[in-house]
């Protein structure tokens, strides 16, 4: 098992190197300049531009810049953001908890609603519940989430005044320093009354928007997986033995039906991070997705490069983890590759 793991881990190393190289080259191909883009209407004189580019090392040949970058990276240095002048890793780590909090809660939202919906639909196959739930699921799956977000803001925030429009917590009412970076936890640690509920209110809409597509996927997957399991002999046997339908579905069948669902959940991680980009943009959520978009617009190469590398690392590691999980469940895969 450990050998399998190490082998897979080793296989990701060339991927990392290629990733580093490709993002580096791509960023240099993007027209525009981190200095130019930050200037107002006045612009900048060619002499000063050359001077500033020299100061930032941007006038070096690309291969040299790349070697310098790779060398720094080997020492754990992700470079310094051009805009904020603070280390990229530090910047990423301050923003990442916000994204993580959003994606985790969105995933929980999707799982908590998606699995029961799938089970109900499967157990009432072809009935009204099944059709309604699956119709909703397919609608959710087809949803342009940027539009969905705006509609929810319009209805929930501007018309019904139920939720705030943006941000993570009302920092005017509740004043505390981030400790973990997770607002739900920090608000509890602060000990201020109402802070936690306020954080929850801020989280609800982004969570729903980001969780909609995974919710639909999980519901559909649970249903089809469940249907398959319900066809199995042991379920029929259990039925014949007179076990209650609820018990069969809820205990025996569900356990087996969940295996493919778990893998699907893992596969959603990449999609969630992509969805987070749009969700964070709509709700001004201070996470890495919004930060990446801003970094593209500002041509902040070090931030963008570091951000993409770190995100990709997470995605690759999660995929590796899922593969491992597979290997545990199904030993044949281990030998197949």
């Amino acid at each position: 098992m450990i050998r399998f793991f190490l082998k897979r881990l080793a296989l990701t190393i060339p991927t990392f190197i290629a990733l580093m190289f490709i993002t580096f080259v791509m960023l240099r191909l993007v027209p525009g300049d981190p200095i130019e883009v930050r200037r107002g209407e006045r612009g900048i004189s060619p002499e000063r531009l050359a001077q500033l580019r020299h100061d930032m090392g941007l006038d070096q040949p690309v291969w040299k810049q790349f070697l310098d970058y790779a060398n720094a990276l080997l020492h754990g240095d992700f470079g310094t953001s051009i805009v904020s002048k603070s280390p990229v890793l530090h910047e990423f780590l301050t923003l990442f908890p916000a994204t993580l909090e959003l994606t985790i809660t969105a995933m929980l939202f999707a799982i908590v609603l998606g699995i029961p919906a799938g089970v109900i639909a499967a157990s009432r196959r072809g009935g009204v519940y099944d059709q309604t739930l699956m119709g909703l699921a397919l609608t959710g799956y087809s949803m342009p989430i940027f539009w969905w977000g705006l509609i929810l803001v319009l209805v929930m925030s501007n018309t019904l005044h139920l939720t705030p429009v943006s941000g993570r917590v009302d920092l005017i009412k509740f004043y505390y320093q981030p400790v973990t970076g997770f607002m739900l936890i920090d608000s509890l640690l602060s000990g201020q009354e109402g802070a936690f509920m306020d954080a929850v209110r801020h989280l609800i809409l982004p969570m729903i928007v980001l969780g909609t597509v995974p919710l639909a996927v999980i519901a559909r997957m649970t249903r089809s997986s469940m249907l398959e399991v319900l066809e199995e002999d042991y379920v029929r046997t259990a039925r014949a033995k007179g076990l209650s339908w609820t018990r069969i579905v809820g205990v025996h069948a569900l356990r087996n039906a969940l295996i493919p669902v778990v893998t699907v959940i893992g596969l959603q991680v990449g999609g969630l991070l992509a969805g987070a980009v749009l969700t964070e943009t709509i709700f001004s959520w201070p996470g890495v997705g919004k930060w990446l978009i801003e970094s593209i617009n500002r041509r902040d190469y070090p931030a963008l490069q570091g951000g993409i590398m770190l995100i990709a690392t997470i995605v690759i590691l999660v995929n590796l983890f899922i593969d491992m999980l597979y290997g545990l469940i199904n030993p044949r895969i281990r030998h197949a590759k």
Binding site: F146, L150, V217, G270, A274, V277, G289
Partner: protein, 302 residues
């Protein structure tokens, strides 16, 4: 290669009527799928004949008639059924022409992805070794970067316009096709009939196109339908961020983005393009579900 050329011809010939009829019978049973097909057909019809059906040109501005509400809301103008946008262009006409743009993007992405995906996937499966490793690693790379961020980066490099939207969305979605074709091909390769063909000395290229590919067609068609809806969604997302079709092209995503400042004061201007995207994608997905069930009930969507 002349022998190959001759032999590939029958493979592309239409399937015998038997399976086709069987397929239609299975498809017809799924009412949702038929509904989806009908809606997709309708949207396709509107898109193709937009120039005949649309009451006005999508870029004609009626000064003094801007931001009109749809016909059922007070203050509307009967000449503009769904109202007008921020500069007084007819919403209905723009939506109709927008269908053309969105479907064009979606179908182009689908076709290009299919061709490239099949080629790369088959190549990976057949040549194995270095080619396989390289192709699969590149696909892993693409999948490791959040799709929207990668698409934005590509657009930033090659510039925002309709063609480049297609390029970016294709690249981002390519891994799914490649992996699917490769996996199906690998499965087929272990089957007895392939071994038999191999033993009897059938050439590699012929083996790929004549025996293996037809057996991957079913999952590929399903993937194509899903790919179509994903492509439309992603292109709309890019348009929403201002990186898709350029003005004054009526693209649904950018129409939505253009009216964000009117969200509170004139919500309906924002409502229609989003609804158009939702309905189109939903219809294609319904149809895709039907295709899947009809072609291969074992296939699951993840």
């Amino acid at each position: 290669m002349p022998s190959d050329a001759r032999l590939t011809a029958p493979a592309t010939a239409p399937a015998p009527p038997g399976p086709l009829r069987a397929f239609w019978r299975a498809f017809r049973e799924n009412r949702g799928a038929v509904l989806g097909l009908a809606v997709v057909g309708f949207i396709l019809f509107v898109a193709v004949f937009a120039n005949v059906l649309a009451p006005y040109s999508p870029i004609e501005q009626f000064r003094g008639f801007s931001k009109l509400p749809p016909f059922w809301v007070e203050g509307s103008d009967p000449r503009f059924l769904l109202g007008t946008d921020a500069v007084g262009r007819d919403m209905l006409s723009r939506l109709m022409y927008g269908a053309r743009v969105s479907l064009f993007i979606g179908l182009s992405v689908m076709v290009v992805s299919m061709v490239v995906g099949v080629a790369l996937g088959l190549a990976a499966a057949f040549f194995g070794g270095v080619a396989d490793v390289i192709i699969i690693r590149v696909m892993d790379l693409i999948m490791a970067i959040p799709s929207l961020v990668l698409a934005i980066l590509i657009i930033a490099i090659i510039g925002p316009n309709l063609t480049n939207t297609i390029v970016a969305v294709t690249i981002v979605g390519l891994p799914r096709y490649v992996r699917l074709v490769r996996a199906s091909a690998l499965t087929e390769l272990t089957k007895d009939y392939v071994t038999a063909a191999r033993v009897s000395g059938v050439g590699k290229f012929r083996l790929m196109t004549k025996t293996v590919l037809p057996n991957c067609v079913a999952p590929l068609i399903v993937q194509a339908a899903l790919g179509l809806s994903d492509a439309i969604l992603e292109a709309a997302g890019l348009g929403f961020l201002g990186l898709g079709a350029q003005p004054p092209t009526p693209e649904w995503g950018s129409m939505l983005a253009d009216t964000r400042d009117l969200m509170l004061s004139h919500p309906w201007v924002m409502a229609f393009p989003g609804l158009a995207i939702l309905v189109t994608v939903l219809a294609i997905n319904l149809m895709g579900d039907g295709l899947r069930d009809a072609l291969d009930p074992r296939l699951r969507r993840s």
